[in-house]
Amino acid sequence: MGDTEVKNRKVNRNKNKNEKNKEIPNPAVDPRDEGDGESTPEALPEELTEEPILKKSASPKKSEKKQRKAGSATAGQSLADLPTLAVTCHFNLLPMLLFGVALATRFYALDQPNSIVFDELHYGRYAGLYQKQTFFFDSHPPLGKQLLALAGYLGGFQGDFKFDKIGSSYNASVPVFAMRAVPALTGSLLIPLVYMIMLQLNYSQWTAALAGFLFLFDNALLTQSHYMLMEPIILFFAMSGVLCVLKFRALERSGNAQAHSYSLRWWGWLLSGSIFLTCALCVKYVGVYSYLLGLALVGHDFWEKVLGNLSLTKKQVFGHAVARFFAFFVVPLMVYIGVFYIHLTTLVNAGPHDSAMSSAFQASLEGGLSSIVRGQPLEVVHGSQVTLRHAHGSPCWLHSHAANYPVKYADKRGSSHQQQVTCYVAKDINNWWIVKRPNRTDLAVAAPLDRISHGEEIQLVHGITGRNLNSHNVAAPASPTKQEVSCYVDHNVSMPAQDVWRVEITNREEIGDVWHALESMVRLIHVNTSVALAFSGRMLPDWGHNQHEIVGDVMVNQPNTIFNVEEHRYTRNEDEKDRQLELMTTDFIPLEPVVMGFWEKFFELQIRMLFISNENVQNHMYTSSPWEWLVLTRGIAYWVSPDSNAQIHLLGNIFIWYSATIALAAYCSLLVFYLLRQRRQCFDIHEEAWNQFRTTGEVLLLGYVFHFLPYFFVDHTLFLHHYLPALAFKLLLNAALVEHLYYLTRLVFAKQFFNWMCVLIVLTWMSGILMVFNKFLPLCYGLGPMNATQILDLKLRETWDFIVHKP
């Protein structure tokens, strides 16, 4: 590039600006001022469309000439001066039409197939548990499931249906239509939403309609919206939030931003934006990426328009900062907590997943722990029979059994050859221990109760084998740096029993000094060596039945040393045989349940949701990696009819997916090209077009990156449906790029002919999309019957694994 051209180009843009300022009072209303983009006139009067246009040219000399000519011939250049196809639509017919078709496709045969499709297994079950007010544990937040449950409730669902496996038929008690209507409706609303987003980004209504069209005729979005699944709901909230944030930005960026500040509309868009985005987060945690996008947009505007506006006083800037902080941090927190408040106050009954929670949490549920703790005594005394649960992380109980440590380990170290002590993940008769004072020999509990308090010394007798919990200076089996814990067996090898332990209650500020079942968190300190009884996290090999290792650990102050009494009762019999019989047979004595406040429950649930992931499906057949999503390598089989090959298979409209991927690459290349050129002070496109292009990048490309990139860094099993939020942004970007390319055509070619060519190409593309959509429609609805040939006919890619189980 020569220097001369650089200068010319630069001059050119300045000249344009000047001329525009001078001569055109800019008749078109800036849609951003309007706040509502739908009524913007989209095309200029006919006479303007025939104007000659600025032509990009290669040689400096030529361009100089051209520009001079262009400058004199036209009254300045602006985007609107370029030839357009003057078709104006005043009735917002387009979005209505699109919405209508969306409703028709989404609600068509909504209650078919009348059996469990894919994850309806989970979501339907959860909706049922809401009807029964039964607690369940899921690693996603509850809003989506609450909506499903609400729809189910309105439809008369009693929660009596047992969701056992994918493919089982629903019976009449399940309001399938009502429950599937939630995703179907939110999935339909997506289409007018994206239409409005595109208008808000300053695209023409045709482009907006194109975006709606892409959403409407993507098979993956249709399939996902047709069953009780979360993605349409999360997409609806995310897109609504983005739209509100964009409307808010329009206010911020309008000429008289000051006047709008703190107006009703200003607050309305700001708050509704943050609330919608938080709702997305409350459906699934991945919604946080949408929230972050909103935050980034609002933060960016704050930086540009408020902080950079030196006419604002410090106080005003501070006020704006506080308002945004309130809207984007305080309000979301309230919404999030509110959703969980409903969750926890609704689900008061004990249910199938209780064991994921702490003992106290379980005991706070109606009928929770009923089989084990109902009415057990509170205070641990001399003679108490207890199970000690390792309180941190995955549950296991202190355990021993009639087997000794091997004399030599595989690595040739020796052991004490005493009885094994382990942490066992299942409830077992061998988990029972009896608390005993070192100086007493009787065990039966009698009045007055001999309570154990903080700091007192005890022994623990294993219920079934009658041996005492012991530790000594021998390396532990799997963690040689730690000390072995055993049940003492006297081998007559000058190894005395060291079986006295001191009780330390870590939460005695709240609970008090007396050892309570369930509530007290205790640490057992070995009196002779000062180590603490600890769960090491390692697994014992075969000789230890692959149970977890228990060690004496010097590091006292760590979560792995904390245990609590979960099951508790008083010893009745003095005779050892009777006691064992008692351990094996008796049921429990009733007592009052634990009361746990909302906040305690909330925080416990948060910690468990964030740190315990129970959804890692190993070896699933239909997993896919983020790279594969770009080219749609694999779908997911959702359902297959028992009597034919009719099936539901999640697959995108391959035509849309491929063009969207190409569009993404094209957008990025163009962006890099423009940036490099601008760095050289060459401005190839109009400023307005550039601004629009840039804003598109800020919202859509950034949105795509936010929703896509994190998947490369997670360790979960991933499926195609994880891609849908990112896909939504990609489809919008695709539509935006089409308009930009159309603009470029107009910029480069003067002739109307090329415009028509453009339109023709787009129309051909759209009809191709329609054809593919139609071809794969049976896979969305599970329409049948289909024979093997029909299915194999759809197998466009070798890697798509449809199910063919009938001829």
């Binding site: 590039m1 902080l307 690595d411 740096t481 090491s536 006292v556 792995n560 057949m621 860094f713 694994d801």
Partner: protein, 730 residues
């Protein structure tokens, strides 16, 4: 290396004088006078060099037994000396260097390196230790010089050097036969060369410019070729290069072709040169290790034919497989075993009580199978029937030769993976049922293509159940002799379901030498990488196992025992004063950045002196901070098992950053004080910081040089009262 730096010092002094004038004009106060003195520079640098050498080599021969991972890397180094092929998840350069150090010291690779704690006795281990210690010691001068080149501030450079010098973690980690000393060396050398190169920007295309650019490329290769985590510094250098190019592109006084020229130069030195060097390292690796060794089994059959002493070396078999051939089938995934069966049945309760089928990694007569047509009995070797080749898509049966049972599967759950089907040996004298029929599908094979030994990978699809013969690599319990489970997986895309024919016996077909299957260098290069990556991906923590997590590292929560047995105890732990203050300084940097950005945005003007100081600190810290992020954040997303020492590359950056921040603080705090005490405040501040660092080093020194036995709770322990955190395990 320090010597090379020395010869360059006049150049740095010269470039210093070309620094912005603002710096000099504002150097009006007493407290920073004399800073530009070359004499002082050399004194400090020399002092740091001497101290580094002293700390690094003091008691280097202690403990005289294998510490921690020396057991691996000492052994691997030895393999280069006795030319034995081995497998490790890391690229070879680090181990090659260790081997070289040992070789120079006269080590003949006879020591077994069996397990940590074994005494070295008379074996010369000091060569390897000293080699690693020298590489580790170079970190200190390199950091000093890097920060010097970034800021041209002597205090900043000194503090950066001292922070790395006095950190016990850096010291301990860099004294043993480990990969970390070379890795850290190459990372910090990459940073130094790239900064040095950046400072040559006004002399583009001059000799020093080319020298430092290609040196950067070479050092980058070093980092990556020691451990793959070295790739993060490549990103750092890449970002730096892009930023430079962006600057150059914005210079309108130069034509675009000038930028293109710059781009090409960088592409040459930072992309092409490193690729060539990297391949070269692997070329040497594969050339040097030509003897069969413990790593063979991880590689494909074709790869093994290269290794002298491996039974596949110079062996010969028929090229094609004909019906009636006696085969061994090897699973093609990394470390896959041979399809195996033996005269034992699955125990009751584990599917059908039929003969076990497993994979077994040793060569054994029980790995042999006859291949036969699905509808014909085993043809005899001496029959005169026409030879029929096995072709892609054929229906076959496999008959286990010793027991004469057919490979069989049916709708019973597999012993460990309950969602797969059980695979058994079934039938008698080669007669079975329809569940013995498998379809042979050659990966990427044309229709009816004949199956070839070694070259083809194939799947066996069960004809009736439509599942593939696969191994789950899960170990069977005692009854299965701890061999690995074989199942029929309904997921036809299972990556572990691919097999190849390794041994093929059929007397009626001509034998061809295995050398026909030899791979060229590139195939071996790519296979070695595939194996390393799958090895790395396989390093997952087991269920319930506690592993070190990234959040624990910067706060120095828990260390790592290097030597825990009898005698001296060594514990890898950072100097808490340095580590914790690194965090504080990082927070300070971020605050400063935010405050400065907001002030700039609001148009608030600082004094020019303050502004220059801030800009110097912020621009240096900016790149160092990015370096820290690049070397730390990715670990959060890693599913593999992680260790404390993974943090040390990041620590290099955060320590250098702290050096810059301390410099900023000692330069900007004294001017706030009354003029009379400025000078003394400055010296007090510097002296205080340095002496507290030295004192903390003295306090925790036993961590590195050996602690006495016994818990630190005892008063006579060398570490009495030093267990500041409960989580430190000494």
């Amino acid at each position: 290396m320090p010597k090379a730096e020395g010869s360059d010092a006049p150049a740095t002094a010269a470039s210093r004088s070309t620094e912005p004038k603002s710096k000099k004009t504002h150097r009006d106060t007493a407290y920073d006078s004399g800073k530009t003195s070359t004499g002082l520079w050399w004194t400090l640098f020399g002092l740091i060099l001497i101290t580094t050498a002293a700390t690094r080599f003091y008691k280097l021969d202690q403990p005289d037994h294998i510490c921690w991972d020396e057991t691996h890397f000492g052994k691997f180094g030895g393999y280069y000396i006795n030319r034995t092929f081995f497998f490790d998840v890391h690229p070879p350069l680090g181990k090659m260097l260790i081997g070289l150090f040992g070789y120079l010291d006269g080590y003949n690779a006879t020591f077994a390196f069996e397990k940590p704690g074994d005494k070295y006795e008379d074996y010369p281990y000091m060569g390897m230790r000293a080699g690693c210690a020298i590489m580790g010691a170079l970190l200190v001068p390199l950091s000093f010089l890097t920060v010097w080149e970034m800021t041209f501030s002597l205090p900043a450079a000194t503090f950066a050097g001292v922070l790395i010098l006095l950190d016990h973690g850096m010291l301990t980690l860099n004294r043993y036969i480990l990969l970390d000393p070379p890795l850290l060396f190459f990372i910090s050398a990459s940073v130094y060369t790239t900064v040095k190169f950046h400072n040559q920007r006004h002399r583009a295309f001059s000799f020093p410019w080319w020298f430092w650019l290609s040196a950067t490329g070479a050092m980058l290769v070093g980092s990556v070729a020691v451990k793959f985590v070295g790739v993060f510094v490549v990103f750092l250098v890449g970002f730096r290069a892009i930023a430079d190019l962006w600057e150059i592109l914005g210079d309108l006084s130069r034509p675009v072709s000038y930028t293109v020229k710059h781009f090409m130069a960088r592409a040459l030195c930072l992309i092409a040169l490193p690729i060539v060097l990297y391949m070269g390292i692997f070329y040497i690796h594969l050339r040097v290790l030509y003897l069969s060794g413990p790593g063979d089994g991880y590689f494909s059959s074709a790869f093994q034919t290269h290794l002298e002493g491996n039974f596949l070396h110079n062996a010969s078999t028929p090229r094609e497989v004909a019906y009636g051939s006696l085969l061994t089938l090897k699973n093609s995934i990394t470390g896959g075993g041979y399809l195996h069966s033996h005269m034992h049945l699955y125990p009751a309760g584990v599917g059908a009580k039929q003969q076990q089928v497993t994979t077994y990694s040793h060569k054994d007569g029980n790995n042999r199978w006859f291949i036969k047509k699905f509808n014909k009995p085993t043809p005899l070797w001496n029959s005169t029937d026409s030879i029929e080749l096995v072709r892609n898509g054929d229906l076959i049966r496999l008959e286990h030769r010793p027991t004469r049972r057919n490979l069989h599967s049916h709708k019973e759950p597999a012993p460990v993976s309950r969602k797969h089907y059980q695979v058994t040996g079934y039938g008698e004298n080669g007669t079975g049922d329809a569940n013995d029929v498998w379809r042979l599908v050659i990966e990427g094979g044309a229709e009816n293509e004949p199956l070839e030994t070694m070259r083809h990978k194939f799947k066996l699809v069960h004809y009736l159940q439509n599942c593939v013969l696969s191994t789950t690599k899960k170990t069977l319990p005692k009854w299965g002799y701890e061999q690995q489970e074989v199942t029929c997986n309904p997921n036809l895309r299972d990556a572990a379901a691919v097999w190849n024919v390794e041994d093929n016996r059929f007397p009626r077909l001509p034998n061809v030498s295995f050398s026909a299957y030899k791979l060229n260098f590139f195939q071996r290069f790519f296979e070695a990488h595939a194996v390393m990556f799958s090895g790395n991906a396989g390093l997952k923590p087991k269920d319930g196992e506690l592993t070190s997590r990234p959040w624990m590292w910067p706060i120095n929560l828990r260390g790592q025992f290097f030597s825990a047995g009898e005698g001296v105890k060594i514990y890898l732990l950072g100097n808490p004063i340095i580590w914790w203050s690194n965090l504080v300084f990082m927070a300070f940097y971020l605050t400063l950045l935010v405050v400065k950005s907001i002030r700039d945005r609001r148009g608030i003007i600082s004094s020019p002196h303050q502004k220059a100081l801030q800009e110097r600190a912020l621009s240096a810290c900016g790149w160092l901070y990015i370096g820290w992020l690049l070397h730390y954040v990715p670990f959060w997303g890693m599913g593999r098992i992680l260790y404390f020492h993974h943090y040390f590359p990041a620590l290099l950056f955060s320590s250098m950053m702290s050096g810059v921040v301390i410099d900023y603080l000692v330069e900007s705090i004294p001017p706030l004080l009354p003029a009379g005490i400025r000078n003394s405040a400055y010296h007090l501040l510097v002296g205080g910081i340095v002496s507290s660092l030295i004192y903390s080093f003295y306090l925790f020194a036993p961590l590195t040089y050996g602690m006495s036995n016994g818990p630190s709770t005892e008063a006579n322990s060398t570490m009495y009262g030093m267990r500041w955190l409960e989580t430190w395990e000494f």
